[in-house]
């Protein structure tokens, strides 16, 4: 019974320490746990595979450094797949720091593929306005983005040669950490212009986008670090997300164990107090 009491009154800092250990150890000594691929991730992969080489894929970097640990690995995995299939990638951002994160992603990707800026990809930079920007892209790309991020006129870039408006885009991939993000692309690019939208988002926001999958408004969804690890698994690339999933899984295991411990100790102590006549509602004074 002493153990149950200790468990109920455990200092929360011990839990923090255990979570830290559960995260750090698998990062130093990777376990190589397998990630099961969901239909949502597979659908995005299949869509990219089904497009003929040279198709125009718009990737919108709608996240900031705070969401980067989750969303950036999926950006890297998706871009790797696009360039492996010889697609043309048009990058833009509805979040101010998204364009700079795209620069960082492309710096890494361009070392692995024989790609040329302006011919195979372009970074159009950040444009404020959310829904209004997407709606304007439905009319004209050059009017919204007369120049790329570096100030080069987009008319001079071969990758933009036959891109007049959203209808010339074969697939939109939105990497989102909020709004403007997936909701904006779905309600404008999909609802008004019937474009195929794929999404990658933080785990916090993933549940609210599942209804879009059921109706087909989203063709697929990568949710959080797990979504990124799934995409890395499909393309056969052991990237950061796959490595981080070991730590994620062990940390989840610790959390689940302590949820079970807390509930078991709560019910044991409640019954004990009820037997002593202290009232069934009295619970442990657990700080955890």
């Amino acid at each position: 019974m002493k153990f149950v009491r200790w468990l109920a009154d455990i200092d929360r800092r011990i839990l923090f320490l255990l979570i830290a250990v559960a995260v750090v150890v698998p990062l130093i000594f990777p376990l190589g746990m397998r990630v099961k691929v969901t239909t949502q991730a597979q659908n995005i992969y299949d869509q990219v595979e089904s497009l003929p080489a040279g198709s125009r894929i718009l990737v919108s970097f709608d996240y900031d450094p705070a969401a980067a640990p989750e969303v950036h690995p999926m950006a890297l995995a998706f871009l790797r797949h696009c360039f492996a299939k010889k697609h043309k990638v048009i990058i833009m951002a509805l979040w101010p720091q998204g364009a700079q994160l795209a620069v960082s992603a492309m710096a890494e990707i361009s070392r692995e593929f024989d790609i040329v800026y302006g011919r195979d990809y372009v970074n159009l930079g950040y444009k404020p306005g959310g829904d209004i920007v997407i709606k304007s892209l439905g009319s004209s790309f050059p009017k919204v983005f007369p120049t790329d991020m570096a100030g080069e006129p987009t008319a001079n870039l071969p990758v933009m040669a036959r891109v007049r408006n959203l209808k010339d885009i074969d697939l939109v991939m939105d990497l989102s950490a909020g709004d403007p993000g997936i909701p904006a692309w779905v309600r404008v690019a999909n609802a008004l212009y019937q474009r195929k939208i794929a999404g990658g988002c933080t785990a916090v926001s993933a549940p609210q986008f599942f209804p879009y999958l059921q109706t087909g408004q989203l063709i697929g969804l990568l949710g959080g670090l797990r979504g990124a690890a799934e995409y890395e698994t499909i393309i056969g690339y052991a990237g950061k997300a796959s490595r981080r999933m070991d730590a994620q899984s062990i940390a989840h295991l610790v959390i689940i164990l302590f949820i079970i411990f807390a509930n078991v100790s709560y019910f044991i102590l409640r019954r004990q107090r009820a037997e002593k006549g202290e009232g069934p509602k009295a619970g442990p004074s657990a700080s955890a």
Binding site: Y126, D131, L192, V204, T215
Partner: protein, 238 residues
Amino acid sequence: MDGLTLFGTWLAAILTLCILSFLYKDNPFYKFAEYLFVGVSAGFWIAYNFHNLLVPNLVVPLFGADGALPKLVEEGQLDLRLLTVIAGLLGITMLFRFFPKVAWVSRYGIAFSVGLGAGLAFVVYLQANCIYQIWGTVRLSPVVITESATGWTFDWGASLANTLLIIGVVSALVYFYFSKEHKGVLGATARLGIWFLMVSFGAAFGYTVMARISLLIGRMEFLIDDWIKGTLTTLGLL
């Protein structure tokens, strides 16, 4: 890793540890990092918005590269660049909120942006978040029969999923129907709706835990790879 990057990495690592120290208890190191973050963020966003919003959308279209104001009418045509003046004036009206006697002027700018947003969003919100979702539910059949090589088969999984979805949507909607007391069939359906809502909240909470652990992993990875391993590599010890 060059000297400047190493310095930046150490600074980021020390500030990360300062923030994480709050997990032990509130302390001056945490407070220092917190205030520094708030101050740097405010300064960063002011500078960022000036250079990325005001300059490219107001200053450059209005004055151009040569810094000259556009003429009101050029070759018999109204210079459309002057429209940015209206946008600029509407933006300035919002600053009137700082002066109580003329704070009412700010309503023009706010009214314009709210009206524009509402007008633009109304149709697309209705279509994407309401009509599509209703259509997504009413088209579901609780009985799904699929064709296979051996003939027609009853798809148990899909049928159960569709049935649960229909029951879940209807019962959750009933829970939010307050025009009649929740008794009898209505009460039972509403209670079922609570169960569906609780399951969905649980799933959302699970995803939230996953997200927070991911952020912790990101920081820990930075401390291990960039800070410790990066420093040891730069010093030639690894």
